[in-house]
Amino acid sequence: MLDIRQARLTLGGRDLWSGLDLAVAPGEFVAVLGANGSGQTSLLRAILGQLPLDSGEILLGGRPVRHGDREIGYIPQQRILPAGTALRGRDLVALGLDGHRWGIPWPSRAARDRVDEIIESIGATSYADLPIGVLSGGEQQRLRVGQALASNPSLLLCDEPLSSLDLQHQRGVAELIDTRLHDSGTAVVFVTHDINPVLDMVDTVLYLAGGRFTAGPPEEVLRTEVLSELYGTPVDVIHSGDRVFVAGVPEFSHHEGDAA
């Protein structure tokens, strides 16, 4: 469904990644891991059609990706909306449905029913009518998931959606995404620094490091030999119970956020 072929992206004369091949099937959960500056966010922006590749191509449903495709849902990094925001929970979700359309939103029964349905599916009914600014980070992020799913996307891109959430909410938001994937066959590309909250949901890990990458099932990629080889320096992959940690990852000098 999502097909990345021989993709290469440079930033400031340096390869973020090159020769990147990845095929994502419907209902597949791909976690994108890597150190800071390894081009994870840039990968999402390339899939969103915002960042042109230097070579190669990215296809969605057989067609090259384009800017503003309604088939793609996007959940950004958590950014708390402040108290003085003129929006209730349900309005945030509704923006995912029709926020791109011109004009003022006319109340319609169909739109309201659809928003209610989404809100119920993300378990946000109890606080959907409260001002967005008084909701907790976890509640806001659940609503963002609802917003991203409102247009029934076939691909969901998530950029660190769990960062700055507490453990309970991390689990809750991750499960929402996983449920969606199983119920509707939506594919998920999930950029994260910490794979543990989603480890049992992930089908494929794409690990980016220093311009190179490796992809495969988590148990094949998250191994000391594989990652040491990828980084070109010894790193340790430590399994502790059902959690996994990567230690000794070298720092890269560039931060993609600066140029992105």
């Binding site: 503003g68 309604r70 003129a86 923006l95 791109h100 011109w102 939103p105 907790s136 976890g138 507490d166």
Partner: protein, 292 residues
């Protein structure tokens, strides 16, 4: 206090006659209050109060230049404010860049304006009108222009409403959804520039914030509904502008202090009401979850 003091602030003798004379000013004030309140909602959501102030100083410079060179003051004011709005819109897409650009532009504009006024040989009443308001001295054709500009602003705002809300709340997601955020920002800056130019004519460059920020800020204190907030902001803007003119026409003072005082009192009232609302909201929210 001597009766003279109060007489200069409030004087309602011959009120009916005066009312007839300033009918057009009242209409202009009403339109400005309503549309200004609406624009203010986006000024607040996009955190652009400082930009409003910066644009108004350049608008003042433009108007002062027009006064000096005998050109149309409204046109001069428009040129100044559109220039400032475009510069801020193009160079200041990030909040931090924006604030430094405004900080640089603002004193420059104010300085230019003062220079032009100092060189202007005409009546001094016109001079300070640009800084502190002069609606009663704006003639009928110009009032027509001001109302026309407000209506253009209103129509443009209604057309870009939803994507502009999206962009104001969450620009990253809005871009991903195909909202032309860059174009929208520029269009909004132009709308803001137009609105500021109109406000400078009516309430004065120094006091523009009282109509473009205070009503919306007050509305946001008492509601978070995307429907109620704009409606309240329009109402507050209307009451401040029209109330200010109605109270001012009898006395000998400019309208601005009346407008700013009314809009400030409304804000104060909304803050108090907002505190009470805040308490009830928090009580409802507590069991729902822990802040992350």
């Amino acid at each position: 206090m001597s009766p003279d003091f109060w007489g200069s602030i409030f004087d309602f003798s011959d009120y009916g006659q005066l009312l007839g004379l300033v009918r057009n000013s009242i209409i202009a004030g009403a339109v400005l209050g309503i549309v200004g309140g609406l624009v203010g909602v986006f000024v607040m959501q996009r955190d652009m109060a400082f930009a409003v102030h910066g644009i108004s100083e350049l608008s003042f410079a433009g108007a002062a230049a027009a006064l000096l060179f005998g050109a149309n003051v409204v046109a001069g004011s428009l040129v100044g404010s559109l220039l400032a709005a475009t510069i801020i819109g193009v160079l200041g897409s990030r909040a931090r860049d924006r604030n430094s650009i405004i900080g640089v532009l603002m004193p420059f504009g104010l300085g230019l304006g003062i220079l032009f006024l100092a060189l202007y040989p005409g009546r001094s009443g016109n001079r300070f009108g640009l800084l502190t308001g002069q609606i009663l001295s704006v003639d009928v054709p110009q009032l027509g222009t001001l109302i026309g500009i407000c209506l253009v602003v209103l129509v443009v705002l209604l057309v870009i409403w939803r994507p502009l809300v999206f962009d104001s709340i969450d620009p990253d997601v809005a871009i991903a959804r195909g909202v032309p955020t860059r174009t929208l920002s520029i269009v909004f800056m132009i709308v803001l520039g137009l609105m500021v130019a109109v406000s400078v004519q009516i309430i004065g460059a120094l006091l523009v914030l009282a109509l473009l920020v205070t009503p919306a800020a007050a509305a946001l204190r008492v509601s978070s509904s995307p429907v109620v907030v704009p409606l309240l902001a329009m109402l507050f803007g209307f009451v401040s502008a029209v109330g200010g003119i109605l109270l001012a026409i009898g006395g000998s003072l400019p309208i601005s202090p009346y407008v700013t005082t009314i809009s400030f009192l409304i804000y104060l009232g909304c803050r108090i009401a907002g505190r009470i609302r805040g308490r009830t909201l928090r009580r409802r929210v507590v069991p729902a979850g822990v802040a992350a």
